[in-house]
Symmetry: D2
């Protein structure tokens, strides 16, 4: 494979995370070509130039279309705010670039559908940034499930909680606007949904409850403004095969910082996971003497691939940014035509479809089946 | 107050627990009269005699009606299987006895209503065995909520899980019969409901999903029999004031032994609790520097009344049976006309009403409002 | 066996704990005679009478010698401050009573030796209150060690920490006087030593370091007084067979309330225990795939005898006071001539000998071998 | 500052870790010049070439002296086995290069002294790889100690345990040879010693016990060979100011993978840390009501600098390799003449001096004072 030319649009939270991954992927994995960091776009030319220097990109621009038009760019990282994803991703695909777009695809389902159509038409790789599925621990959980280590799964609970909306006196900002989306559901319930999808396949039916912990918030220059979406959502879910699940998301959960928990119950055992301790999982297997049965806390280790590409010793711990390096590696493999574990636009659309169904089920106060 | 004459019907799991409480309550608390253990009833005369000797009761009988007719008996502990509760409790109340009946009141709601009517007619104390609310830790959680330690509560999650139905090849027995009840819901979701009631008041609206992890079970003499109720239930709940909650119960949850967890989210902090570690709770308060904010794990201590009546040193730990001693003490106080924290038949009926509403919401696949 | 007549001297912390055990042991275990609570002694006649009523004793006295002279008393619980143990225990043994004396035996080693001599001369059961070894979890740890579940043990760490001496501005009181003992070492390091003895046998060589976190403390009426003993002690230990251990005790350890931890390392695995979570232990066994190896957290369950005598369901939890009930049951078995797990005065003397050796090793700044 | 030319000798465990850090440091921190990856040395030319491609180095060599002679190289990462450190580090310093050498300095103390002499003579930055002190959590613990958050520290316990030597039937290899060092003491007790040094300063007196869990090990081609050093070591320690500490290290501790725990007790509170959960620490402060006192578990967050340079959201987690990036950043600052937190050869020599004193105290069975 020839050198892969990289373009990066956006350099905020996830933009920097992409940049770190592009810088590290060759040194970590060795088995792919070193990407060439070609072009970086930011909203402001000066900022773009500064970031290009920091992140090691050759060119900088305030015009993302110039980046997409750059013939040296083969793949584009789209890490801008969600509303810009459709336009940028579609333009990049139409220009024949591969696309690595941060989740979610788009606030509007129709836009997400257009993105998928563009991806299909392009024949390029179109992947979404759902890095939690790349955790070696999560991969191993899937292996355990596939092997039947806990038998047939019959019930799942998944929670995602943070507290960045927990302060009732924090100023109103765009995350509380209705145009930004439903709130907790699409702001981050898509993450646990990506885990459900990765481990168990798609959601078939849902009914959701959603609440506003705070009805209004102060404005910076006085007065208060009504909150327009819901910071907490809880959903009864049916997966294929009649498996029941409960999905809970709360971005106003004081004390929770990056919590995504899984409780998976099967006919022979159970598995537990908590993203705040992402280098561990717990496994209960119902065998042996009753006097020694218990949840086994397993620490991430080289035997959980590809942890070994980062550290040869067990229990030393990967970090959040390392997951993006693994995702980057999978993306490169996909671009090279090798088998890879990525969330395609097709997968992503299905995830977002279930989010919209959840919101609908709340407003209609009834179960919604997803076709 | 004169000596309280005690009758005990049933000597199984909870029967023994009552017996231990009646034996210990005076020595632990000191401020009540020592109960006189008068009469014990079991299904078999020989067993009754043996247990009376063990538990320190004066008389034994295989005829529970004889116990109820005993003029030396002032209060009757009813700890038999659920279907016998109505007949025994009503007979005892009608005989002018106080009643301490294990939860739930009755499999059929109409029977529970008759029990309440009998209690009202009798003017006696009619209390239910909901010992988890008696934990000094739980009492302190209520104090914290009342004091506003975590501000206004806006979201709650409560889980109750055990694994006694988790083995798919365990023989079919009465707990899987439809006549025994809905399954997880009334078998033990009443416990977390008692906590919700104790801390937050009553449930106003519900929608439940229920599942059968295993469709059938082997019979002891060959063949298999279809399971008739649901081992797992998940419920979206609205409490008064629009607070949202999620209630999850699973008696087929491998690895869970006596788990009842609470996650309580408020405008100023959060509280966590897990019954498997009943001598602890966690408190997050959103104040002070960001660099030191975190969940504080508090160990049960004498300052959490009435822990001090058991042990003068912190962190030494109460046990499950100690909660029943506290409940017994509250019952004696109620009988003596003093302020007491018990779950009356009135409270219990409301708890059971919400259980029936949950089952109805599942069958009708819609939200049910509770009057 | 005829009814066992019980005398109780002292009704403070451990006195009440004994009283609760004597009240409960028959109802819990069933297989022993119900003790007759005959005589209770306290320093003040009025207090004695009040406590006798509370705890269910027939007679009360301010003269403990009267209690020992009572022909209806067969066994005497000695729960007074440590300096009174020798006189009372020896008098009781000389009067032909069995003795159940709280640890430690005596501040002075010579007094402890006299107690042992009296026990030997009497032919009676002379047991010490070391209830932590009675935990069903601890018993099971011994079973696992005996079975070789973790292979040959080669290293042990044991910690005991509380914080009742942690406040530097708490008033000086008798626990800081040199006459009360060495400080942390004999005040509570005897507890972890009882666990080492129970699980591994006797200590053979020691070298200790001891420190005074605070050199003086305020007096209630002004001024300060120098602290005379050591609140923290750390000891390098050799057990028989060359096994190395580290014993650490600190009664000024902020945040520790009733912590006693064990870390036991063997050739095939490890075992962990923490008294603050006394209904759990952790077991690591080096077998199976590397991808699932981890510490298994096992919850106390009926299969861990005699937990089943208290509660038929796993994971529901015993309390600190329940351990004393088990100890009481073992004592009654010993008195009845049945095999029993108690700490005799002989065992206790050996434990205290090692404490004195530790103190000596600190003062001499060298290893001390224990004969 | 001009571009920094980097040479890397060794590409194993820590070699790769250095390479990842050199690749990432500019993108993470932004405020330093992007290093130029000039020259890489490995024992074999082909391997050197392959690794140079992977890690992004311009030149590769099998002759480390060529690398040191390279005028484009300004700083040399020395990550070879310990016995090669003195020769390479001294040669690099003599050639006017800055040196970043992995710990420990050298198996022999005299060699370490020569390294320090070379560093002093060179006037270059000579830093050791002690990355655990770079954890934002550890930095914050130091801040808390400096601020007096837990008052005056009086007692410390530190443990370092892994299980790579725990299998008694693993083949004998060089780590069990006496020439490799004392065993647990210098193999990894230097890490916890670096934490003690970082937080509290230097060790003043020690007495150690050391044990061989297994006396011999199988050889690959049959027979067994005696183990020549000690896999477990426990040390009583006195720090300056009379603070007592206990240091425990065990490389045969089944189930421990990367455990380094700290327990720090002060006059106003306590701090706990465990490297296996490196994104957390626990803080107990003895203030407020007794009913809410407890250990607060704090998750790493942007407010713990420089976590914010990696991730803008709290609780998302850094990894082991990220610590090396922070160390790399500090090194570059030191080279640039800015204030930096590194472990110099001077600091490292003092750490190693205390290790040698520990070994001596074991062999002489007495306390050793360190000048």
């Amino acid at each position: 494979m020839k050198t892969l030319g990289v373009g990066l649009i956006g350099t905020g939270y996830m933009g920097k995370c992409h940049a770190l991954a592009w810088n590290a992927v060759k040194a970590v994995f060795g088995d792919v070509a070193r990407p060439r960091l070609v072009h970086l776009a930011e909203i402001d030319a000066q900022l773009a130039a500064a970031r290009a220097t920091e992140f090691g990109f050759e060119k900088a621009t305030a015009d993302w279309r110039a980046l997409i038009a750059d013939p040296d760019v083969d793949v584009v990282s789209v890490t801008t705010p969600n509303q810009f994803h459709p336009e940028m991703a579609i333009a990049a695909l139409e220009a024949g670039k591969h696309v690595w777009c941060e989740k979610p695809m788009a606030p509007a389902y129709a836009d997400a559908e257009r993105m998928l159509a563009a991806a299909r038409a392009s024949g390029r790789v179109a992947a979404l940034g759902y890095n939690y599925i790349q955790n070696p621990v999560m991969r191993h959980i899937r292996t355990l499930l596939d092997e039947g280590a806990i038998g047939a799964v019959n019930h799942i609970r998944v929670e995602m909680d943070e507290d960045f909306m927990a302060d009732p006196e924090a100023f109103f900002y765009w995350k509380s606007e209705g145009t930004s989306g439903y709130g907790a559901l699409d702001d981050f319930a898509v993450h646990p949904l990506s885990l459900l999808w990765y481990l168990f396949g798609h959601v078939e039916a849902v009914i959701a409850d959603m609440t506003k912990p705070y009805l209004d918030r102060p404005l910076q220059h006085g007065g208060r403004r009504a909150v327009e979406n819901h910071d907490a959502a809880s959903v009864l879910v049916r997966l294929s095969g009649g498996i029941s699940a409960v999905l809970m998301a709360n971005r106003a959960a004081w004390g929770r910082k990056g919590r995504i928990t899984l409780q998976i119950f099967g006919s022979k055992g159970s598995i537990l996971y908590d993203q705040e301790r992402m280098n561990e999982f717990e496994l209960y297997q119902a065998d042996g003497r009753a006097t020694e049965q218990g949840f086994r806390k397993v620490l991430a280790a080289p035997a959980h691939r590809p942890y070994d590409r980062f550290i040869p010793a067990p229990g030393h711990g990967l970090g959040f940014n390392d997951l993006k390096i693994i995702e980057c590696h999978e993306l490169i493999r996909a671009i090279s035509g090798e088998p890879a574990s990525i969330v395609t636009f097709e997968d992503g659309l299905r995830i977002e479809k279930s989010v919209h169904a959840m919101a609908e089920s709340f407003h209609q106060r009834r179960w919604i089946e997803i076709g």
